[in-house]
């Protein structure tokens, strides 16, 4: 196993699907506000209502987006896998985390500092466009899935 603290984070960012084909200068900038983050299975990456400090590019393992309501068992409504990111509410007016995020396996992610990224976006419209487009794709995929899940597809006879 690689030492999680010493892996080349700049290289890892460049190899991550979310940042694929991004301008190397932007990657250099983002690498400066990134750190490795490891989470044991069953631990939380974030909880609903938490202030947004970082978002995660998943490198290994699965995280679950989980909804907890009193009197009901916690329910995972989506899993986020290696190559995808979790957390985007921060990008719209630094909103807090909307849902719990739980590590379903031993998870390694790249945690990107939200304040750093937003400041960098203020300095570079091009970087802001890049992040906006990429996050919008994530949101669109999550929304498509949520809609399909909403109709209880499989409940009826095929």
């Amino acid at each position: 196993m690689n030492d999680t603290r010493t892996g080349d984070i700049r290289q890892a960012l460049g190899e991550h699907d979310f940042f694929a084909a991004m301008d190397p200068r932007h990657l250099d900038t983002l690498a400066q506000m990134s750190r490795w983050s490891d989470h044991a299975a069953g631990s939380w990456l974030a909880c609903a209502g938490d202030a947004p400090d970082s978002f995660h590019a998943i490198v290994r393992g699965r995280v679950g987006i989980e909804i907890t309501a009193t009197g009901r068992a916690p329910l995972v409504v989506a899993t986020v896998h290696a190559g995808d990111v979790v957390g985007w509410s921060w990008f719209i007016g630094r909103q807090p985390w909307q849902f719990d995020v739980v590590a379903l396996d031993d998870v390694r992610s790249i945690a990107l500092d939200v304040n750093g990224v937003l400041d960098a976006c203020d300095r570079s419209d091009d970087l802001r466009d890049e992040i906006t487009t990429r996050l919008l794709r994530v949101v669109a995929d999550r929304l498509r899935s949520a809609r399909l899940q909403l109709v209880d597809l499989y409940g009826r006879a095929r």
Partner: protein, 278 residues
Amino acid sequence: MAALVEPVVGGIDPLTPVPHRVVAVDRETSDVVTLTLDPLSEVLVPALPGQFVMVWAFGVGEIPVSVSGVDDAGRFALTVRAVGPVSNAVVAARPGDTLGARGPYGTAWPIADAKDRDVLVVAGGLGLAPLRTAIDELGGGGPRRLTVVVGAREPDQVLFTADQRRWRDLGVDVQITVDAASWRWDGAVGTATDVVARLGAAHDIAFVCGPELMMTSAARAAIAQGTDPANVWVSLERNMHCGIAHCGRCQLGALLLCRDGAVVRWDRVVELLRERGR
């Protein structure tokens, strides 16, 4: 006359339900069972993967059901969800009961085209039933690579879990996703489309079966991953009533789905599926 073709009279009427004994009932989920039927008299032609039979419950009625297993002795398996009067009667059958069946009808998954290729199978809900025999055949080492994506509502709604273990042992990449789960669930949560979109590799040929909405979504994802639309196959359902292209009720555009389907090429139906109320 004047007979434009020579009519054939006699033989078994094609609408006759052939009696079969229920020899096994395996409960798959809370409302889905797999029945094994053994012929009592006439033996039906073994169903090809993807074909269906008309199943008849005496005194209740008849429904189309995909064949989910076959053996050499004329036995076959049907996986049925209880939704209407007939399917409820079929699901309630016990070993020793008699059910009628006629068929098999319709087209099959093009298994031969999958030899030495990268094959993607996507199944949603009960859609795994008509793909089960196809995966069994493909799992024997035909394709170069076989990826099976299974979508279900909840973990306890996943069908054929024992088969899935067996397929994995054969080297099949089986990926299961559900709409919602507890954190104890060790598969994915999301849609089959999400899983297909994450594969990150094009497959040469794709077999997709499930609810229509799931199929259109998953087929598009497979195509976005690089599969040629002419190599994507889906299994469509309409009001199959007679099974033999006489009653006209299962039409979808120019297709009589009991005869020209249920398994059809995606590029031949994509526009029809887009047209509301076809």
